[in-house]
């Protein structure tokens, strides 16, 4: 009787690609978010092709021009085209965002797995993680950037370090709860080594939460970069990033609010889109949702 119920229902287990498609098309919002992120990323990648002007070259005679046919959003205090700078700025901002997410996730994953499985290390590591979490992230980042000198790498490190503890905690908690799962115990019973258990059973469990966490880190890193620039501890102002376009342009707010508001808008839209994507991923991966899907 049970045999007849369902020996072959549904498609095979969803592959990565179908999963992605599922997420993207899960709701109109997710679709819009995907489209936005794609546009922004493509614009950044093909910046040299799509930017109307050189984003770095100074043209003092053209400074602080209002929006015009030539300069769609006007120019900044150095006579550089705002549109081009925003497009190029995406490169740095996205590199910072994605870089911070990747570094934080990878190092957090490594440390979290260690902590989740090695008792004595856990105690030490968790104290350090607690300590790092206690230091307000902007203060830490400012300190690191201004002490080590403002380069892309420093900014990246400064933004990443405060995020790592959160990832460590996340991974550790996933590992700790997965470790209680009967299938992990079954693996132990099957004589699998700790390493194999981590790779086969624990690691895959951390992927979904990490993707979600990664999108949030990415979004927050872009924001933090902007704030660091604002506080004068950002990336070299010669290189455009969304943060330092706004930071440099802010005293001209009353002259041409666009200098701050346009990059601000781009930052907001990007972060919004990334966050929405993160939400969509979460919804798609939410175990309760998944369960409902199966019962059907």
């Amino acid at each position: 009787m049970t045999d007849q119920t369902n020996t072959a229902p549904g498609p095979a287990h969803p592959t990565a690609l179908t999963k992605v498609r599922e997420v993207v098309f899960s709701s109109p919002i997710a679709l819009i978010a995907t489209v936005l992120v794609t546009i922004i990323v493509l614009a950044a990648i093909f910046a040299p092709v799509v930017s109307p002007h050189d984003p770095v070259r100074l043209t003092p005679s053209e400074r602080l021009k209002p929006p015009s046919e030539l300069y769609w959003l006007g120019t900044d205090a150095y006579g550089r085209d705002l549109v081009s700078r925003i497009i190029y700025g995406g490169r740095i901002s996205l590199v910072v965002g994605v870089g911070a997410a990747v570094f934080a996730v990878l190092s957090g994953l490594f440390l979290g797995l260690m902590a989740g499985y090695i008792r004595w290390l856990d105690a030490v590591l968790m104290r350090m993680v607690d300590g790092l979490m206690a230091i307000p992230n902007i203060l830490l980042a400012i300190a690191i950037v201004s002490l080590w000198g403002a380069g892309l790498w420093t900014v990246l490190i400064a933004i990443t370090i405060p995020e790592v503890p959160r990832v460590v905690r996340l991974v550790r908690s996933v590992v700790l709860s997965a470790r209680e799962e009967p299938y992990v115990e079954a693996a132990i019973a099957a004589g699998s080594s700790t390493f194999l258990i981590m790779r086969r059973h624990l690691l895959p469990n951390t992927i979904a939460p990490l993707i979600i966490q990664g999108t949030y880190i990415c979004a927050s890193a872009i924001l933090v970069e902007a704030i660091l620039s604002f506080l004068g501890a950002g990336i070299n102002p010669e290189t455009p990033s969304w943060g330092n376009i706004m930071a440099e342009g802010r005293i001209y707010f009353q002259i041409n609010p666009g200098i701050v508001l346009w990059p601000g808008l781009v930052v907001s839209v990007t972060i919004l889109a990334i966050n929405l994507l993160g939400d969509a991923v979460r919804d798609a991966l939410d175990p309760r949702m998944a369960k409902r899907g199966i019962d059907r």
Binding site: R57, L58, P60, A77, S146, A150, P237, R250, Y252, Q254
Partner: protein
């Protein structure tokens, strides 16, 4: 404390941190010094020294003994009268720190008060020196401010423990919050001179009860605040915001510092390839001041192309050796020089402070100019304090050293060969950051110090400038003016190389 009509709220160009104007050359500390201390002499608007604390003075015929009589009734804020002893101690301390003071001290045999008359102050020279009064009237960092002897005896490497002067304002220590605000009150017992105020000379008549220097961390906020009347005086609004301020009928905008600022680029003569004068000259030749000033200031009303190392508008001004800077035609010369020097493409480390509004543009423009003629430039962003720490390093570039940086000087700090640090040719030992070693220029500076007439001084200054350009010691990359803005209810704001708060009334 409640805001009264008789309080001036002023936003200064940066936060007051170090309260000892002898210990540091920071302009904020100098401005602070002008509030609470008085000076023996001061320059008037004709750049001529006038007695300030001094009532009368005379020089012995051999030119070796200077006797100064202080005005009656001068009093420190703690109630003690000002004596020659105090003056002697203060000048001695200043002489340890200040570059012009150090030169003066080389000529001074003794300095003392007098047991007969507490108002007397006597300087005994070893040999005649033409710049005694000019030194005592030095208008900008470090200014020879007079403080009580007990404080002046503090070692010159340590800050004075108390802020007691005999100036027109008193320091309100309780309300001082570093980085937030500094508060001054009128010193009721101050006796101003009778002459009208002119720069820091003349009568320092205080017409308000209090002055508060408030630090605004954000220019945009400052702009909003002065427009909404929450701020009375803005020392250095960014040039780009001036049109907004000028358009506001309730705000007055005026340039009070007529000598303005000299912005400079300084190569490091210790590190290859900048140790080669040809390379230094090539870098300088590549620069066109107009590009720097357009990017930095924009509005030509507020800048001047000026190749004079000792500042345009002063007696020593000359354009010798500066053609490429002001004409912008040095690119070919620069390429030739590079060729001649055999530049191998070593990247030039140009330090770029990103947190100081008036300094973050120059490196960008200079880098572009240098790249245009064939330099490799490594523009390294950092905050100003990192730069300050790093520029002190004489090490090679890969050990934390550097090649070039830019900074600004107020005109009065560079307006003669003795105060102008960049033409110091003493090299790594006793020179200023960058440390070019040019013995000839040191001889010329000594000659300048002992020159008798202005004509002679002018000639020597011109020779110094020519040599300095030829050695590529540094380049002024433009002179600019930073007007101040204040609400129209302030009256009597004085001109001068530093901001003064006497003579201002508020209604």
């Amino acid at each position: 404390a409640p805001v009264s009509a008789q309080t001036i709220i002023a936003s200064k160009h940066s936060a007051l941190r170090v309260l000892d104007p002898i210990l540091t050359t920071a302009y904020m500390s100098r401005n602070h010094g002008y509030m609470i201390y008085d000076t023996l002499f001061a320059l008037d608007e004709d750049v001529t020294p006038q007695p300030q604390m001094v009532d009368t003075w005379e020089v012995s015929d051999d030119g070796l003994t200077y006797t100064f009589t202080l005005r009656d009734g001068l009093m420190f804020h703690d109630g003690a009268p000002v004596t020659g002893e105090d003056v002697a101690a203060s000048i001695a301390r200043w002489g340890e720190r200040d570059s012009m003071g150090q030169v003066l001290m080389e000529y001074v045999d003794t300095m003392s008060g007098s047991s007969d008359d507490p108002n007397l102050f006597i300087i005994q020279l070893k040999e005649p020196y033409g710049l005694v009064i000019d030194s005592l009237a030095k208008p900008s960092s470090n200014v020879p401010f007079i403080m009580p002897k007990r404080l002046a005896e503090t070692p010159s490497t340590e800050p004075v423990p108390e802020q007691i002067g005999s100036g027109p304002f008193k320091w309100v220590a309780d309300e001082f919050q570093p980085g937030v605000k500094a508060v001054y009150e009128k010193f009721e017992d101050y006796v101003p001179r009778d002459e009208p105020a002119s720069w820091a000379a003349g009568g320092k008549v205080v017409k308000v009860d209090r002055v508060e220097w408030v630090v605004f961390p954000d220019d945009q906020t400052t702009l909003n605040a002065i427009q909404s009347g929450e701020l009375d005086y803005w020392e250095q609004p960014p040039i780009d915001l001036l049109p907004i301020l000028e358009a506001n009928p309730d705000v007055t905008v005026r340039n009070t510092n007529t000598l303005g600022y000299q912005t400079i680029i300084r190569p490091n003569a210790l590190n290859a390839p900048m140790d080669d004068p040809l390379i230094r000259k090539a870098a300088i030749a590549s620069i066109y001041q107009k590009n720097v000033l357009d990017a930095l200031i924009g509005n030509p009303e507020y800048y001047e192309l000026c190749g004079a190392m000792f500042v345009c508008g002063t007696p020593l001004a000359t354009d010798v050796g500066s053609e490429t800077l002001t004409e912008g035609n040095g690119q070919d010369l620069a390429r030739e020089l590079l060729e001649e020097a055999g530049y191998d493409g070593t990247p030039i480390v140009l330090m770029h402070p990103t947190d100081v509004g008036t300094l973050r543009t120059q490196p960008v423009v200079v880098a572009q100019a240098m790249r245009d003629v064939g330099f490799e430039v490594d523009l390294q962003a950092m905050d100003w304090q990192t730069l300050v720490g790093r520029r002190a390093s004489q090490a090679p570039v890969d050990e934390g050293g550097w090649h070039m940086f830019a900074t600004n000087w107020v005109g009065a700090d560079v307006f003669n060969p003795l105060v102008n640090n960049m033409v110091n040719g003493k090299g790594p030992d006793g020179g200023w950051f960058g440390w070019p070693e040019v013995p000839e220029i040191e001889e010329l500076r000594t000659a300048y110090a002992t020159a008798e007439t202005l004509e002679e001084q002018k000639e020597i200054a011109a020779q110094i400038q020519e040599l300095a350009y030829d050695e590529g010691m540094y380049a002024p990359i433009g002179q600019y003016f930073v007007p101040s803005a204040w609400t129209s209810n302030l009256e009597g704001v004085l001109d001068g190389p530093a901001p003064y708060f006497w003579n201002i009334s508020k209604n």
